[in-house]
């Protein structure tokens, strides 16, 4: 099923500048794998060997996946995944 993934500015170099992309998958993990196939390199910016990088937060709708089922959080068609990275600057 297709979901929309909102891409933050720092990661848009990997999506050709697109602010949101469509990806397929029944779970967040599957969606990330589908994104990796379409936008190589993005998986490593989101995940490390322990799971979601600690400086990245993934939200399904308004819920942080850490408080759902993590990468195994189930998705419904049309849902939106947001990527919220830490930033420092001003």
């Amino acid at each position: 099923m297709a979901v929309t993934v909102r891409i933050p500015t720092p990661l848009r170099t990997l999506t050709g500048g697109e602010e949101s992309v469509q990806a397929d998958g029944g779970t967040v993990r599957q969606v990330i794998e589908d994104m990796e196939a379409k936008h190589p390199g993005i998986r490593d910016r989101l995940l490390d060997d322990k799971g979601v990088r600690r400086f990245v937060n993934l939200y399904v709708g308004e819920e942080d996946i850490r408080f759902l089922d993590g990468l195994d959080t189930a998705l419904s068609a049309g849902q939106e995944i947001s990527i919220v990275p830490a930033i420092a600057g001003g």
Partner: protein, 247 residues
């Protein structure tokens, strides 16, 4: 400055502003005009040409001056009648708790992660609220953390990033309007808290689409600062090493 129309009397309130830069400057303007009675400014930089497009308290004639002197002068020139206290230093482990104790709320717009985590820890250990702000390129965030945390900055981002986890800040720029908006959001969140109507969601702004989204952040039971069994009970310098400014 006329503060009589302020919805809440803020003249007895105080704010500690960590970093008088692209976020601190607009935040200070808003706090001053709202009538916050005492402002404590922390920064050790001098005004540079590259600051002027977004650090709105400074003018051409301020180039080379201490930022805090120039900021104080600008606030007074704008009609601010409250107290301005200058701390010409960086916000560092040795003095963080002492500084945090001097105001009702902390605002940090630091350009590096060690200072963000230090402000987070110092606020929590001092039982003070803290507003975190950041702006890089076209992205900005602002978030007010309550004195009790749950959630706090460590709930969200846990700890300093590894050196290669994020791009170096030298590769990133800051769009002046984005920094201005982040500073205004920080002031808004601070004023809400000081007025007794806090707002806990994180604001995330995308300057390329003008989308402002509200993200609900949850507390983490395992958080070392505000979780069920916190392990951070003091400020230790080693905890804040590394972590370059980053986007």
């Amino acid at each position: 400055m006329n503060t009589s129309s302020s919805p809440t009397d803020l003249s007895t309130k105080s704010a500690l502003v960590i970093g008088v830069g692209g976020l601190g400057c607009p935040a200070l303007v808003a706090l001053a005009r709202a009538g916050v009675g005492r402002l404590v400014l922390v920064d050790d930089d001098r005004v540079e040409l590259s600051n002027l497009h977004r650090q709105v308290l400074f003018r051409d004639e301020d180039l080379g001056r201490d930022k805090l002197d120039a900021a104080r002068d600008a606030l007074l020139r704008d009609g601010y009648t409250g107290a301005v206290e200058l701390e010409k230093t960086r916000f560092v482990p040795d003095t963080a708790l002492t500084l945090a104790a001097r105001a009702d709320i902390l605002l940090e717009g630091a350009d590096n992660f060690p200072t963000k985590f230090l402000a987070c820890d110092a606020a929590r250990l001092s039982a003070k609220p803290v507003v975190h702000g950041a702006a890089v390129r076209f992205t900005a965030t602002a978030w007010c953390v309550a004195p009790e945390g749950r959630p706090c900055y460590r709930c969200l981002f846990e700890d300093l990033p590894a050196g290669d986890a994020v791009p170096n800040c030298a590769e990133a720029g800051v769009m002046a309007p984005v920094a201005g908006l982040a500073g205004a959001l920080m002031a808004d969140l601070a004023l809400r808290h000081l007025s007794g109507a806090p707002r806990s969601a994180l604001w995330a702004y995308d300057g390329k689409t003008d989308a402002l989204r509200e993200v609900v952040v949850g507390g983490r039971q395992q958080c070392p600062l505000c979780g069920d069994q916190p392990s951070i009970s003091d400020i230790q310098e080693a905890r804040y090493l590394g972590g370059l400014c980053a986007a």
